[in-house]
Protein backbone atom coordinates (compact mmCIF):
# COMPACT_ATOMS: atom_id res chain seq x y z
CA UNK A 1 0.00 0.00 0.00
CA UNK A 2 1.91 3.00 -1.23
CA UNK A 3 -0.68 5.66 -0.81
CA UNK A 4 -2.02 5.32 2.68
CA UNK A 5 -0.80 4.15 6.03
CA UNK A 6 -4.32 3.03 6.85
CA UNK A 7 -5.24 -0.54 5.90
CA UNK A 8 -7.97 -0.22 3.32
CA UNK A 9 -9.52 -3.35 1.82
CA UNK A 10 -12.66 -2.95 -0.16
CA UNK A 11 -15.23 -1.53 2.21
CA UNK A 12 -18.64 -3.23 2.37
CA UNK A 13 -21.48 -1.05 3.63
CA UNK A 14 -22.65 -2.08 7.09
CA UNK A 15 -24.70 -0.39 9.76
CA UNK A 16 -23.34 -0.21 13.29
CA UNK A 17 -26.07 -2.63 14.46
CA UNK A 18 -25.26 -5.09 11.68
CA UNK A 19 -21.55 -4.97 12.46
CA UNK A 20 -22.12 -5.61 16.16
CA UNK A 21 -24.55 -8.44 15.38
CA UNK A 22 -22.12 -9.90 12.84
CA UNK A 23 -19.53 -10.41 15.58
CA UNK A 24 -21.69 -13.43 16.53
CA UNK A 25 -22.59 -14.46 12.97
CA UNK A 26 -22.26 -18.15 12.09
CA UNK A 27 -20.20 -17.10 9.04
CA UNK A 28 -16.81 -16.58 10.66
CA UNK A 29 -15.55 -14.38 7.84
CA UNK A 30 -18.35 -11.92 8.62
CA UNK A 31 -17.26 -11.82 12.26
CA UNK A 32 -13.71 -11.13 11.17
CA UNK A 33 -14.80 -8.33 8.82
CA UNK A 34 -17.13 -6.79 11.41
CA UNK A 35 -14.32 -6.53 13.96
CA UNK A 36 -12.11 -4.73 11.43
CA UNK A 37 -14.99 -2.49 10.34
CA UNK A 38 -15.80 -1.32 13.88
CA UNK A 39 -12.20 -0.22 14.35
CA UNK A 40 -11.87 1.36 10.93
CA UNK A 41 -14.95 3.50 11.40
CA UNK A 42 -14.21 4.27 15.04
CA UNK A 43 -17.50 2.90 16.36
CA UNK A 44 -16.92 3.58 20.03
CA UNK A 45 -20.39 3.01 21.45
CA UNK A 46 -20.62 0.71 24.49
CA UNK A 47 -22.32 -2.17 22.65
CA UNK A 48 -19.47 -2.32 20.14
CA UNK A 49 -16.80 -2.22 22.85
CA UNK A 50 -18.53 -4.99 24.80
CA UNK A 51 -18.95 -7.21 21.76
CA UNK A 52 -15.30 -6.72 20.75
CA UNK A 53 -14.13 -7.55 24.29
CA UNK A 54 -16.12 -10.79 24.08
CA UNK A 55 -14.48 -11.51 20.72
CA UNK A 56 -11.03 -11.34 22.39
CA UNK A 57 -11.86 -14.76 23.88
CA UNK A 58 -13.35 -16.25 20.71
CA UNK A 59 -12.73 -20.00 20.33
CA UNK A 60 -14.78 -20.63 17.18
CA UNK A 61 -12.50 -19.14 14.53
CA UNK A 62 -9.22 -21.05 14.53
CA UNK A 63 -6.81 -21.72 11.68
CA UNK A 64 -5.09 -25.04 10.99
CA UNK A 65 -2.08 -23.69 12.87
CA UNK A 66 -4.27 -22.97 15.89
CA UNK A 67 -4.27 -19.20 15.41
CA UNK A 68 -7.14 -16.86 16.32
CA UNK A 69 -7.86 -14.44 13.45
CA UNK A 70 -10.96 -12.89 15.05
CA UNK A 71 -9.10 -12.16 18.29
CA UNK A 72 -6.43 -10.36 16.25
CA UNK A 73 -8.92 -8.04 14.59
CA UNK A 74 -10.84 -7.45 17.81
CA UNK A 75 -7.62 -6.53 19.63
CA UNK A 76 -6.59 -4.15 16.82
CA UNK A 77 -10.01 -2.48 16.77
CA UNK A 78 -10.09 -1.96 20.53
CA UNK A 79 -6.85 0.02 20.37
CA UNK A 80 -8.45 2.47 17.96
CA UNK A 81 -11.63 2.94 19.97
CA UNK A 82 -9.94 4.57 22.93
CA UNK A 83 -11.94 2.89 25.71
CA UNK A 84 -9.87 1.61 28.62
CA UNK A 85 -12.55 -0.92 29.52
CA UNK A 86 -10.76 -3.10 26.98
CA UNK A 87 -7.51 -3.15 29.00
CA UNK A 88 -8.16 -6.29 31.13
CA UNK A 89 -9.14 -8.34 28.07
CA UNK A 90 -6.13 -7.11 26.13
CA UNK A 91 -3.82 -7.94 29.05
CA UNK A 92 -5.04 -11.56 28.85
CA UNK A 93 -4.31 -11.56 25.13
CA UNK A 94 -0.61 -10.94 25.90
CA UNK A 95 -0.49 -14.62 26.88
CA UNK A 96 -2.32 -15.93 23.81
CA UNK A 97 -0.57 -18.69 21.86
CA UNK A 98 -1.07 -16.68 18.65
CA UNK A 99 1.85 -14.27 18.06
CA UNK A 100 -0.32 -11.83 16.12
CA UNK A 101 -2.90 -11.63 18.92
CA UNK A 102 -0.08 -10.76 21.34
CA UNK A 103 1.26 -8.20 18.89
CA UNK A 104 -2.14 -6.56 18.36
CA UNK A 105 -2.77 -6.50 22.11
CA UNK A 106 0.60 -4.85 22.84
CA UNK A 107 -0.02 -2.22 20.15
CA UNK A 108 -3.51 -1.48 21.41
CA UNK A 109 -2.41 -1.29 25.04
CA UNK A 110 0.18 1.29 23.96
CA UNK A 111 -2.53 3.26 22.18
CA UNK A 112 -4.97 3.14 25.11
CA UNK A 113 -2.29 4.71 27.29
CA UNK A 114 -3.10 3.01 30.61
CA UNK A 115 0.19 2.49 32.49
CA UNK A 116 -1.38 -0.43 34.34
CA UNK A 117 -0.31 -2.50 31.29
CA UNK A 118 3.41 -2.00 31.92
CA UNK A 119 3.94 -4.90 34.38
CA UNK A 120 2.14 -7.25 31.99
CA UNK A 121 4.27 -6.20 29.01
CA UNK A 122 7.62 -6.65 30.76
CA UNK A 123 7.55 -10.50 30.82
CA UNK A 124 7.42 -10.50 27.01
CA UNK A 125 10.99 -9.18 27.02
CA UNK A 126 12.17 -12.03 29.27
CA UNK A 127 15.48 -13.52 28.21
CA UNK A 128 16.50 -10.29 26.51
CA UNK A 129 18.06 -10.23 23.06
CA UNK A 130 19.25 -13.85 23.36
CA UNK A 131 15.65 -15.08 23.48
CA UNK A 132 14.51 -12.75 20.71
CA UNK A 133 15.07 -15.11 17.80
CA UNK A 134 13.00 -16.18 14.85
CA UNK A 135 10.44 -18.95 15.41
CA UNK A 136 11.36 -21.84 13.07
CA UNK A 137 9.05 -21.99 10.08
CA UNK A 138 7.27 -18.72 10.87
CA UNK A 139 8.01 -15.20 9.70
CA UNK A 140 8.27 -13.66 13.17
CA UNK A 141 10.33 -13.61 16.36
CA UNK A 142 9.38 -15.39 19.59
CA UNK A 143 7.58 -12.29 20.88
CA UNK A 144 6.20 -9.12 19.26
CA UNK A 145 9.25 -7.15 20.42
CA UNK A 146 8.62 -4.13 18.22
CA UNK A 147 5.09 -3.67 19.55
CA UNK A 148 6.11 -4.29 23.16
CA UNK A 149 9.01 -1.81 23.05
CA UNK A 150 6.86 0.84 21.39
CA UNK A 151 4.09 0.34 23.96
CA UNK A 152 6.55 0.68 26.85
CA UNK A 153 7.71 3.97 25.35
CA UNK A 154 4.17 5.27 24.90
CA UNK A 155 3.19 4.23 28.42
CA UNK A 156 6.08 6.08 30.04
CA UNK A 157 7.75 2.99 31.51
CA UNK A 158 10.86 4.90 32.53
CA UNK A 159 11.82 2.46 35.29
CA UNK A 160 12.58 -0.35 32.82
CA UNK A 161 15.19 1.41 30.68
CA UNK A 162 17.73 -1.32 31.40
CA UNK A 163 15.36 -3.91 29.92
CA UNK A 164 14.92 -1.88 26.74
CA UNK A 165 18.52 -0.80 26.15
CA UNK A 166 19.87 -4.24 25.10
CA UNK A 167 17.45 -4.26 22.16
CA UNK A 168 19.46 -1.42 20.58
CA UNK A 169 21.83 -4.21 19.54
CA UNK A 170 19.18 -6.58 18.22
CA UNK A 171 20.05 -7.82 14.70
CA UNK A 172 16.62 -6.88 13.31
CA UNK A 173 16.58 -3.19 12.34
CA UNK A 174 12.88 -2.72 13.14
CA UNK A 175 13.48 -3.90 16.71
CA UNK A 176 16.40 -1.49 17.07
CA UNK A 177 14.23 1.35 15.81
CA UNK A 178 11.47 0.46 18.28
CA UNK A 179 14.01 0.52 21.12
CA UNK A 180 15.34 3.89 19.94
CA UNK A 181 11.83 5.27 19.73
CA UNK A 182 10.96 4.07 23.23
CA UNK A 183 14.22 5.28 24.77
CA UNK A 184 13.81 8.70 23.20
CA UNK A 185 10.28 8.97 24.56
CA UNK A 186 11.37 7.83 28.02
CA UNK A 187 14.55 9.89 28.37
CA UNK A 188 14.32 12.72 25.82
CA UNK A 189 18.01 12.01 25.11
CA UNK A 190 18.96 13.36 21.70
CA UNK A 191 21.37 10.46 21.09
CA UNK A 192 18.43 8.15 20.45
CA UNK A 193 16.67 10.58 18.12
CA UNK A 194 19.86 11.11 16.10
CA UNK A 195 20.42 7.38 15.75
CA UNK A 196 16.83 6.82 14.67
CA UNK A 197 17.21 9.59 12.10
CA UNK A 198 20.20 7.78 10.58
CA UNK A 199 17.77 5.02 9.63
CA UNK A 200 16.47 7.33 6.89
CA UNK A 201 19.69 6.46 5.05
CA UNK A 202 18.84 2.75 5.05
CA UNK A 203 19.04 1.14 1.62
CA UNK A 204 15.72 -0.63 2.29
CA UNK A 205 12.66 1.41 1.29
CA UNK A 206 10.42 -0.36 3.81
CA UNK A 207 12.83 0.45 6.63
CA UNK A 208 12.94 4.09 5.60
CA UNK A 209 9.15 4.12 5.81
CA UNK A 210 9.27 2.54 9.28
CA UNK A 211 11.77 5.17 10.45
CA UNK A 212 9.52 7.94 9.12
CA UNK A 213 6.64 6.50 11.14
CA UNK A 214 8.78 6.37 14.27
CA UNK A 215 10.16 9.91 13.87
CA UNK A 216 6.60 11.16 13.43
CA UNK A 217 5.43 9.28 16.52
CA UNK A 218 8.10 10.85 18.74
CA UNK A 219 7.78 14.26 17.07
CA UNK A 220 11.54 14.53 16.58
CA UNK A 221 11.92 18.09 15.32
CA UNK A 222 15.65 17.97 14.41
CA UNK A 223 14.72 15.42 11.71
CA UNK A 224 12.33 17.73 9.86
CA UNK A 225 14.58 18.54 6.90
CA UNK A 226 15.90 14.98 6.66
CA UNK A 227 12.30 13.72 6.57
CA UNK A 228 11.42 16.12 3.75
CA UNK A 229 14.45 14.93 1.76
CA UNK A 230 14.03 11.20 2.48
CA UNK A 231 13.83 8.91 -0.50
CA UNK A 232 10.25 7.65 -0.13
CA UNK A 233 6.82 8.54 -1.45
CA UNK A 234 5.59 11.95 -0.35
CA UNK A 235 2.65 10.45 1.59
CA UNK A 236 4.95 8.88 4.18
CA UNK A 237 6.91 12.09 4.59
CA UNK A 238 3.79 14.23 5.00
CA UNK A 239 2.45 11.87 7.67
CA UNK A 240 5.77 11.96 9.54
CA UNK A 241 5.90 15.76 9.42
CA UNK A 242 2.35 15.88 10.71
CA UNK A 243 3.58 14.02 13.79
CA UNK A 244 6.31 16.64 14.28
CA UNK A 245 3.79 19.43 13.82
CA UNK A 246 1.40 17.97 16.40
CA UNK A 247 4.21 17.97 18.98
CA UNK A 248 4.72 21.69 18.31
CA UNK A 249 1.08 22.69 18.78
CA UNK A 250 -0.25 23.93 22.05
CA UNK A 251 -4.04 23.65 22.18
CA UNK A 252 -4.34 26.43 24.74
CA UNK A 253 -2.32 28.86 22.65
CA UNK A 254 -3.39 30.36 19.35
CA UNK A 255 0.03 31.61 18.28
CA UNK A 256 2.01 29.26 16.07
CA UNK A 257 5.64 28.72 17.01
CA UNK A 258 8.36 29.29 14.41
CA UNK A 259 9.08 25.58 14.50
CA UNK A 260 5.45 24.75 13.71
CA UNK A 261 5.50 27.16 10.78
CA UNK A 262 8.72 25.67 9.43
CA UNK A 263 7.26 22.16 9.59
CA UNK A 264 4.14 23.34 7.75
CA UNK A 265 6.32 24.96 5.07
CA UNK A 266 7.98 21.58 4.53
CA UNK A 267 4.59 19.85 4.39
CA UNK A 268 3.38 22.40 1.82
CA UNK A 269 6.43 21.66 -0.34
CA UNK A 270 5.55 17.95 -0.43
CA UNK A 271 1.94 18.35 -1.58
Amino acid sequence: MLESTEENPEVVALTVEQAIANLKHEDLSLRYYAAWWLGRFRVSEPAAIEALIVALEDEDYRTQLGDYPLRRNAARALGKLGNRQAVPGLLKCLNCSDFYVREAAAQSLGMLGDPIAVPALIPLLAGGVAAAVQVPGRPHLTQPYTAVLEALGSLGASDVLELIQPFLEHPVARVQYAALRALYQLTGDDVYGQRLMQGLESSDLNLRRVVLGNLGAIGYLPASNAIARASTESSFKIFALKGLLEHQLNPTQLDLSDAAIQVMNLMDSLL
Binding site: S231, S234, I238, K242, L245, P251, L256, I261, M267, L271
Partner: protein, 214 residues
Protein backbone atom coordinates in the same frame (compact mmCIF):
# COMPACT_ATOMS: atom_id res chain seq x y z
CA UNK B 1 23.46 24.64 -29.45
CA UNK B 2 22.34 21.05 -29.69
CA UNK B 3 21.80 19.64 -33.17
CA UNK B 4 19.13 17.00 -33.90
CA UNK B 5 21.64 14.15 -33.92
CA UNK B 6 22.91 15.12 -30.49
CA UNK B 7 19.34 15.42 -29.23
CA UNK B 8 18.56 11.92 -30.46
CA UNK B 9 21.67 10.71 -28.69
CA UNK B 10 20.52 12.28 -25.41
CA UNK B 11 17.04 10.76 -25.75
CA UNK B 12 18.55 7.41 -26.65
CA UNK B 13 20.71 7.50 -23.53
CA UNK B 14 17.58 7.80 -21.36
CA UNK B 15 15.79 5.00 -23.17
CA UNK B 16 18.79 2.69 -22.99
CA UNK B 17 19.89 3.46 -19.41
CA UNK B 18 20.54 0.11 -17.74
CA UNK B 19 20.99 1.29 -14.15
CA UNK B 20 19.22 3.81 -11.92
CA UNK B 21 22.37 5.94 -11.74
CA UNK B 22 22.79 5.99 -15.55
CA UNK B 23 19.14 6.96 -15.92
CA UNK B 24 19.58 9.90 -13.54
CA UNK B 25 22.71 11.03 -15.41
CA UNK B 26 20.96 10.75 -18.80
CA UNK B 27 17.97 12.75 -17.55
CA UNK B 28 20.28 15.40 -16.14
CA UNK B 29 21.98 15.65 -19.55
CA UNK B 30 18.66 16.27 -21.33
CA UNK B 31 17.67 18.89 -18.77
CA UNK B 32 21.04 20.62 -19.11
CA UNK B 33 20.80 20.68 -22.92
CA UNK B 34 17.41 22.47 -22.71
CA UNK B 35 16.16 21.04 -26.01
CA UNK B 36 12.42 21.04 -26.47
CA UNK B 37 12.59 17.78 -28.36
CA UNK B 38 13.47 16.18 -25.03
CA UNK B 39 10.22 17.18 -23.28
CA UNK B 40 8.34 14.06 -24.25
CA UNK B 41 11.20 11.90 -22.98
CA UNK B 42 11.29 13.76 -19.67
CA UNK B 43 7.56 13.13 -19.25
CA UNK B 44 8.08 9.43 -19.97
CA UNK B 45 10.72 9.32 -17.22
CA UNK B 46 8.05 10.24 -14.65
CA UNK B 47 6.71 6.69 -15.06
CA UNK B 48 10.04 4.87 -14.76
CA UNK B 49 9.69 4.26 -11.02
CA UNK B 50 12.98 6.05 -10.30
CA UNK B 51 12.17 8.88 -7.87
CA UNK B 52 15.54 10.62 -8.21
CA UNK B 53 15.29 10.70 -12.01
CA UNK B 54 11.65 11.78 -11.78
CA UNK B 55 12.50 14.73 -9.53
CA UNK B 56 15.22 15.87 -11.97
CA UNK B 57 12.74 15.50 -14.85
CA UNK B 58 10.07 17.52 -13.01
CA UNK B 59 12.56 20.31 -12.37
CA UNK B 60 13.53 20.27 -16.03
CA UNK B 61 9.88 20.39 -17.15
CA UNK B 62 9.16 23.29 -14.81
CA UNK B 63 12.17 25.10 -16.27
CA UNK B 64 10.74 24.65 -19.78
CA UNK B 65 7.56 26.33 -18.53
CA UNK B 66 4.68 27.02 -20.93
CA UNK B 67 6.02 24.93 -23.78
CA UNK B 68 5.79 21.81 -21.57
CA UNK B 69 2.14 22.36 -20.59
CA UNK B 70 0.38 20.82 -23.59
CA UNK B 71 2.66 17.74 -23.71
CA UNK B 72 2.19 17.21 -19.95
CA UNK B 73 -1.59 17.30 -20.38
CA UNK B 74 -1.56 15.03 -23.43
CA UNK B 75 0.83 12.51 -21.94
CA UNK B 76 -0.85 12.32 -18.52
CA UNK B 77 -0.49 8.69 -17.42
CA UNK B 78 -3.90 7.19 -16.70
CA UNK B 79 -2.49 4.00 -15.26
CA UNK B 80 0.49 5.05 -13.14
CA UNK B 81 -0.52 7.34 -10.29
CA UNK B 82 3.10 7.97 -9.33
CA UNK B 83 3.80 9.37 -12.80
CA UNK B 84 0.55 11.31 -12.70
CA UNK B 85 1.46 12.94 -9.36
CA UNK B 86 4.81 14.13 -10.77
CA UNK B 87 3.13 15.51 -13.90
CA UNK B 88 0.49 17.32 -11.86
CA UNK B 89 3.22 18.81 -9.64
CA UNK B 90 4.97 20.10 -12.75
CA UNK B 91 1.72 21.59 -14.10
CA UNK B 92 0.97 23.16 -10.72
CA UNK B 93 4.43 24.76 -10.58
CA UNK B 94 4.29 26.07 -14.14
CA UNK B 95 0.85 27.44 -13.19
CA UNK B 96 -0.38 27.90 -16.75
CA UNK B 97 -4.21 28.12 -16.61
CA UNK B 98 -4.53 25.79 -19.62
CA UNK B 99 -4.07 23.05 -16.97
CA UNK B 100 -7.18 24.07 -15.06
CA UNK B 101 -9.45 21.29 -16.33
CA UNK B 102 -6.87 18.63 -15.59
CA UNK B 103 -6.31 20.06 -12.10
CA UNK B 104 -10.03 20.37 -11.35
CA UNK B 105 -10.67 16.75 -12.30
CA UNK B 106 -7.60 15.43 -10.51
CA UNK B 107 -8.35 17.37 -7.31
CA UNK B 108 -11.95 16.21 -7.17
CA UNK B 109 -11.85 12.64 -8.46
CA UNK B 110 -8.40 11.04 -8.71
CA UNK B 111 -8.19 7.88 -6.60
CA UNK B 112 -4.61 8.59 -5.51
CA UNK B 113 -4.25 11.02 -2.58
CA UNK B 114 -0.82 12.19 -3.80
CA UNK B 115 -2.32 13.28 -7.13
CA UNK B 116 -5.25 14.98 -5.43
CA UNK B 117 -2.98 16.89 -3.03
CA UNK B 118 -0.77 18.16 -5.85
CA UNK B 119 -3.75 19.23 -7.97
CA UNK B 120 -5.52 20.87 -5.03
CA UNK B 121 -2.47 22.93 -4.14
CA UNK B 122 -2.00 23.81 -7.82
CA UNK B 123 -5.56 25.07 -8.27
CA UNK B 124 -4.89 28.02 -6.00
CA UNK B 125 -1.80 29.32 -7.76
CA UNK B 126 -2.61 29.45 -11.48
CA UNK B 127 -1.62 32.57 -13.42
CA UNK B 128 -5.14 33.83 -13.98
CA UNK B 129 -3.96 36.96 -15.78
CA UNK B 130 -3.12 34.78 -18.79
CA UNK B 131 -6.83 34.21 -19.32
CA UNK B 132 -9.10 36.70 -21.03
CA UNK B 133 -11.21 38.81 -18.70
CA UNK B 134 -14.33 36.84 -19.73
CA UNK B 135 -12.73 33.48 -18.99
CA UNK B 136 -11.05 34.59 -15.81
CA UNK B 137 -13.90 34.96 -13.34
CA UNK B 138 -15.51 31.67 -14.36
CA UNK B 139 -12.20 29.83 -14.00
CA UNK B 140 -11.47 31.36 -10.60
CA UNK B 141 -14.97 30.49 -9.43
CA UNK B 142 -14.53 26.86 -10.54
CA UNK B 143 -11.26 26.65 -8.66
CA UNK B 144 -12.88 28.12 -5.56
CA UNK B 145 -15.85 25.74 -5.63
CA UNK B 146 -13.62 22.70 -6.07
CA UNK B 147 -11.32 23.81 -3.23
CA UNK B 148 -14.31 24.33 -0.93
CA UNK B 149 -15.68 20.91 -1.79
CA UNK B 150 -12.27 19.26 -1.30
CA UNK B 151 -11.86 21.03 2.06
CA UNK B 152 -14.56 18.63 3.38
CA UNK B 153 -12.78 15.45 2.24
CA UNK B 154 -12.49 12.58 4.77
CA UNK B 155 -8.68 12.46 4.25
CA UNK B 156 -6.93 15.08 6.43
CA UNK B 157 -4.06 15.44 3.97
CA UNK B 158 -6.48 16.44 1.20
CA UNK B 159 -8.13 18.98 3.50
CA UNK B 160 -4.68 20.32 4.39
CA UNK B 161 -3.93 20.74 0.69
CA UNK B 162 -7.27 22.52 0.23
CA UNK B 163 -6.27 25.11 2.84
CA UNK B 164 -2.95 25.65 1.05
CA UNK B 165 -4.85 26.03 -2.23
CA UNK B 166 -7.37 28.47 -0.73
CA UNK B 167 -4.59 30.58 0.74
CA UNK B 168 -2.91 30.80 -2.66
CA UNK B 169 -6.18 31.58 -4.44
CA UNK B 170 -6.83 34.43 -2.00
CA UNK B 171 -3.61 36.11 -3.12
CA UNK B 172 -3.96 35.44 -6.86
CA UNK B 173 -7.61 36.41 -7.34
CA UNK B 174 -10.19 38.96 -6.23
CA UNK B 175 -11.69 36.50 -3.73
CA UNK B 176 -9.63 37.30 -0.66
CA UNK B 177 -12.53 38.41 1.54
CA UNK B 178 -14.69 35.46 0.54
CA UNK B 179 -11.84 33.01 1.16
CA UNK B 180 -11.06 34.53 4.55
CA UNK B 181 -14.63 33.91 5.68
CA UNK B 182 -14.43 30.38 4.22
CA UNK B 183 -11.28 29.73 6.27
CA UNK B 184 -13.07 31.00 9.36
CA UNK B 185 -15.84 28.47 8.73
CA UNK B 186 -13.37 25.65 8.20
CA UNK B 187 -11.57 26.30 11.48
CA UNK B 188 -14.88 26.05 13.37
CA UNK B 189 -15.57 22.50 12.19
CA UNK B 190 -12.17 21.03 11.29
CA UNK B 191 -11.52 17.99 13.54
CA UNK B 192 -7.77 17.67 12.90
CA UNK B 193 -5.45 19.94 14.86
CA UNK B 194 -2.74 19.91 12.17
CA UNK B 195 -5.22 21.13 9.55
CA UNK B 196 -6.54 23.74 11.99
CA UNK B 197 -2.97 24.93 12.50
CA UNK B 198 -2.58 25.30 8.74
CA UNK B 199 -5.78 27.37 8.62
CA UNK B 200 -4.39 29.63 11.34
CA UNK B 201 -1.17 30.05 9.35
CA UNK B 202 -3.18 30.92 6.23
CA UNK B 203 -5.19 33.48 8.21
CA UNK B 204 -2.02 35.08 9.61
CA UNK B 205 -0.39 35.27 6.19
CA UNK B 206 -3.50 36.71 4.56
CA UNK B 207 -3.96 39.41 7.19
CA UNK B 208 -0.29 40.37 6.81
CA UNK B 209 -0.80 40.40 3.03
CA UNK B 210 -3.44 43.07 3.46
CA UNK B 211 -1.27 45.14 5.77
CA UNK B 212 1.58 45.45 3.30
CA UNK B 213 -0.97 46.90 0.95
CA UNK B 214 -1.42 44.56 -2.02
Amino acid sequence: MTDPAQTQKLIHAVEQADSPARLVAAVQAIVAAEVEAGISTLIAVLGYNNPTAAVVAVEGLIHFGEVAVQPLIEQLDEYNYGARAYAIRALAAIADPRAIDVLLTAAATDFAPSVRRAATKGLGGLHWSKLSVEQRSAAVEQALQTLISVSQDPDWSIRYAAVVGLQALATTSHLKTQIESQLQQIIQTEPDQAVRARVRLAQQLLSAYLKIGH
